[in-house]
Amino acid sequence: MGKTASAVVGAPIEGRSPSRMAWDRLKNDRTAKISAITVGFIFLLALAAPIFTWIIHTTPDQFHPETLDPTFGTNPVGKLGGISSQHWFGVEPRTGRDVFLRFAYGARTSLSIALSATALATIIGVLVGLISGFFGKTVDLVLTRTMEIILAFPSILFALAITPVLENALEGWGVPTGNATRIPVMIVVLSMFGWPYIARIVRGQVISLREKEFVEAARSIGASRTHLVFKEILPNLWAPILVTVALNIPTMITSEAALTFLGAGVIDPTSDWGAMLLASVPFYSVDPTYTFIPGFGLFILVLAFNLLGDSVRDALDPRSSR
């Protein structure tokens, strides 16, 4: 990319394609770079989590009773929640489990759930938005009403409430409970409330594109509806979809953490940032480090994603900035 970009210097600005312009803007955006590096770093941490188990010689689930005050199991030995050369982020009260490893593995869980939910919500949202916007009439009416109804649900409350009920139903059909069920249920529940936002944006774009000349032209030469939707309209939507996805990821991360924090999320011993925060609540006063680490991690991750999303939006639609 760097080579071609340097070749462009001096050429008239009009010569660049919109996506190239967006990319160039993004590349010159310092905030975007820093936040992308931060996000990348956390991804790397998540991916490399198993490597750390090998370096530290323990696992995220391994108890370390020797790191706890024998009188008060709630207090790790040492300052700042038991931070030491062996336990970089300290240890968990009561168990002595390594907080750094739980943090790294927690990033895995949090990110994979949030990203899966975003992906699912995007697929549904784009499909529904396309269909609704392109076909209009009754189909549109039914779909927009559906979105309206979904948005009328108190999402966190409902997600919280439906998780045990869904699990109970699945249990009734012979599906065992546990994280193998809980995580897919969470992904479904999260995306259920995420897709209407995407669908609404796609729908709006499709409606404005539907009447554009190139679509009319394709229609006039007898292109099929599928062709029109997927070959003519969809390729013109990547910018708004990208922006929506970029801004949706942090929302999903926080929703996932909130759900877990409220107790309808990932089940121990599987680690998750929301679950770590939940587990830290009783100890916030005796061991604030343990609260601070997942909370701060979540803050940094969400902030980085938010900034990155803003930058992507600004790059793709410069008028929206400043």
């Binding site: 009328a152 966190i156 409350l157 409902f158 109970n168 009734g172 925060l277 604030p288 803050f299 400043r322």
Partner: protein, 330 residues
């Protein structure tokens, strides 16, 4: 206008009807054993059997739902003609067997706490959010703008449960300036009430004002670029008049919308805030009901929250039509 109001109310009621049907179906049909779920943790086989009868699980779904809806309007008696008969007056949203009380009563019981959080916090976040947003927009590009928007961006990425715990650690545990958050009736102990509410208000306002600050700023800046603002300047209006009468007035409309919706969903239960600060509001009721699998209360809280959201939607639409003559007069 009247016609529009009526139409909005009718369509809102319709949405609420659909939502209630969905909620009802999900919570009473989906689970493999709704009676067991409704019965909760300290359950006896005898109680399960009684709840099975009380929930009329032998009836068809439309009949069950019909009776549920009827109960909302005229009330109903669960386990009529038995020793364990339970009266549930209108509007009856079901009966909690775990607490042995009608759900409506439980909801009303918890409403004041949620109301306290919502009203106090919303005043605070509007004050902070709007003033910092306006200041940012007017002092665009200066250090004031950069600082306040930096804060806003950071705050918008923070979580209530994280900030709440940190603030509690600082102000309750370390400095001991505030008592543990909780709820006391403002009519009995107004001072205690306020002191205990400070943290929930501040935490919620801190995070939400960030959104309002960003929203106000971008709305103001966008409006400042509008032709009619240029016209106002060309007329020779003072910048104060322009900013207040022309810019803010136009930028306010979308904020009113967002505010209405935020307040609506908050009134349905500030779930996380109440959970973190242990405030016995609707959100806490819901989380408790979920943990105890008290199905009637779960259903009730979800429906009640949906009611607030839908009402807020209607109010916002009506308010919008008051604020925007284009909507009002079309």
């Amino acid at each position: 206008m009247l016609k529009y109001t009526l139409r909005r109310i009718v369509s809102g009621t319709l949405v609420l009807g659909i939502v209630s049907a969905i909620v009802f179906s999900i919570f009473y049909i989906l689970p493999s054993d709704p009676a067991r779920l409704a019965c909760g943790k300290s359950c006896t086989p005898d109680l399960v059997a009684r709840i099975q009868v009380a929930l009329e699980l032998d009836q068809s779904l439309p009949v069950q739902y019909g009776r549920f809806i009827k109960g909302i309007f005229v009330g109903r008696t669960y386990l009529a003609n038995t020793d364990a008969a339970r009266e549930c007056g209108a509007p009856c949203l079901g009966y909690s067997y775990q607490t042995d009380q009608p759900v409506t009563l439980l909801l009303m019981d918890r409403l004041p706490a949620t109301l306290s959080i919502a009203v106090g916090a919303s005043i605070l976040w509007l004050l902070i959010g709007l003033s910092s947003g306006i200041l940012s927009a007017l002092r665009r590009g200066t250090w004031i703008d950069r600082t306040s928007q930096g804060f806003a961006l950071a705050a918008a990425s923070l979580q209530i449960y994280f900030v709440g715990l940190i603030l509690q650690f600082i102000f309750v545990d370390k400095l001991a300036w505030l008592p543990m958050p909780g709820y006391t009736s403002p009519f009995d102990y107004p001072l205690d009430w306020a002191k205990q509410m400070v943290l929930p208000w501040v935490t919620l306002a801190f995070l939400l004002s960030a959104i309002y600050s960003r929203l106000t700023r971008s709305g103001m800046i966008e409006t400042m670029g509008e032709d009619f603002v240029r016209t106002a300047r060309a007329k020779g209006l003072s910048s104060r008049d322009i900013n207040i009468k022309h810019v803010l007035r136009a930028a306010m409309t979308p904020i009113v919308t967002v505010f209405g919706l935020d307040l609506g969903s908050l009134l349905g239960g500030a779930v996380i805030t109440e959970y973190v600060f242990n405030i016995p509001g609707l959100g806490k009721l819901a989380t408790e009901a979920v943990t105890n699998l008290d199905l009637p209360v779960v259903t009730g809280t979800v429906l009640f929250a949906a009611f607030f959201i839908i009402t807020a939607n209607i109010v916002v639409d009506l308010l919008y039509s008051v604020l925007d003559p284009k909507v009002r007069l079309s």
